[in-house]
């Protein structure tokens, strides 16, 4: 039962991403062509509201459901992994038109060929795990 709330969060997330068309390959292509404000508006307003909300929550000391101050884990300091890893992801994002969240959502919309994409993404993560010690971070 404690997990049920996460199921609802996921349902809500899935609906928002379909209704915003952010799961569409075409919208990603259009974004990287700078031909519409749509995707920038989505990401920009999410980040804008997110930044104000997080800042305000920390400032007034909002507690989470477990009674502890809200906190977001800091990412480790590095440059190479974020730029190189990010660029590799960007190549895949623009080719497949789907990032990890939309893959599951698209499966739900009945686009079952996305399953191949998902299996390949799992394989990509697996290979990263194998090579991790040899990659610059």
């Amino acid at each position: 039962m404690q997990y049920l709330k996460y199921l609802f969060v996921g349902v809500f997330f899935g609906i928002v991403l379909v209704k915003s068309e952010a799961v569409s390959w075409y919208r990603i292509f259009e974004m990287f062509q700078f031909q519409s404000f749509h995707m920038y508006g989505i990401i920009g307003s999410a980040v804008g509201l997110g930044a104000v909300g997080i800042w305000l929550s920390k400032k007034v000391g909002v507690k989470n459901s477990e009674g502890r101050p809200i906190a977001l884990p800091a990412k480790e300091k590095s440059f190479v992994r974020y730029l190189v890893g990010g660029s590799i992801f960007g190549l895949g994002w623009a080719l497949a038109g789907a990032c990890p969240g939309p893959m599951y959502i698209l499966l739900g919309t009945g686009a079952f060929s996305v399953g191949i994409l998902l299996i390949a993404a799992i394989a990509g993560t697996f290979v990263y795990g194998l090579l991790r010690s040899k990659l610059p971070h």
């Binding site: 049920l4 199921l7 349902v11 919208r27 989470n64 038109g97 990890p100 698209l106 390949a120 795990g129």
Partner: protein, 186 residues
């Protein structure tokens, strides 16, 4: 009710995505969809091959529930909350896509030229899905996050690593869209 069936504008969708992040932060979690790929590896026994996958994946079950919900959400939106009207892409995008051989741009969420079964079972089509998926899976873990973890959560938390990652997302994305897609489809 009609507004629910229409596409939701960015100024509705963006704040709703932020609310997903807030709800997860309130529950003491973080919004990050690509972590599930690592969890799925661990679940499949990848811990035998790399200690990167030797972690307590059971602590990530909540995120797998988000995944399950996302699948359901996808189903609900096309089944009950859609009119089936085409996506209002910009005319330039439709024109550019036509030049690349994509017809009916925006009539469905995904182009049949990539995701239709006829395309999937060609060498090129299979290569695109496997290559694209692999790059996403490899890149997100190398970068330590994807759109939800870095672009939404990390930027909201004003983290420099996430800004570097998002710059990377755009370097890769622009390279693919402007240089490689014309080679692949041209």
């Amino acid at each position: 009710m009609d507004f629910l069936l229409q596409p939701w504008p960015w100024y509705v969708s963006g704040p709703l995505i932020a609310s997903v992040m807030f709800v997860l932060v309130y529950f003491g979690k973080t919004f990050g969809m690509s972590s599930n790929l690592r969890t799925l590896c661990a679940l499949g026994g990848a811990g035998r091959y790399s200690d990167f996958f030797r972690f307590d994946w059971k602590a990530q079950r909540w995120n797998l529930m988000v995944v399950l919900g996302a699948v359901l959400g996808g189903y609900i939106s096309v089944r009950f909350l859609s009119t089936g009207a085409p996506i209002a892409l910009s005319p330039e995008t439709i024109y550019d896509l036509k030049m690349l051989g994509f017809t009916n741009a925006g009539n469905t969420l995904l182009p049949a030229e990539i995701y239709g079964w006829d395309a999937v079972f060609t060498l090129k089509g299979m290569g695109i899905l496997i290559g694209g998926g692999f790059l996403v899976g490899f890149g997100t873990r190398y970068a330590g996050g994807c759109t939800s973890g870095h672009a939404i959560t990390g930027l909201s938390n004003l983290q420099l690593p996430s800004l570097i990652a998002v710059v990377g997302f755009f370097i890769g994305g622009l390279l693919m869209t402007h240089l490689l897609l014309p080679l692949i489809f041209g």
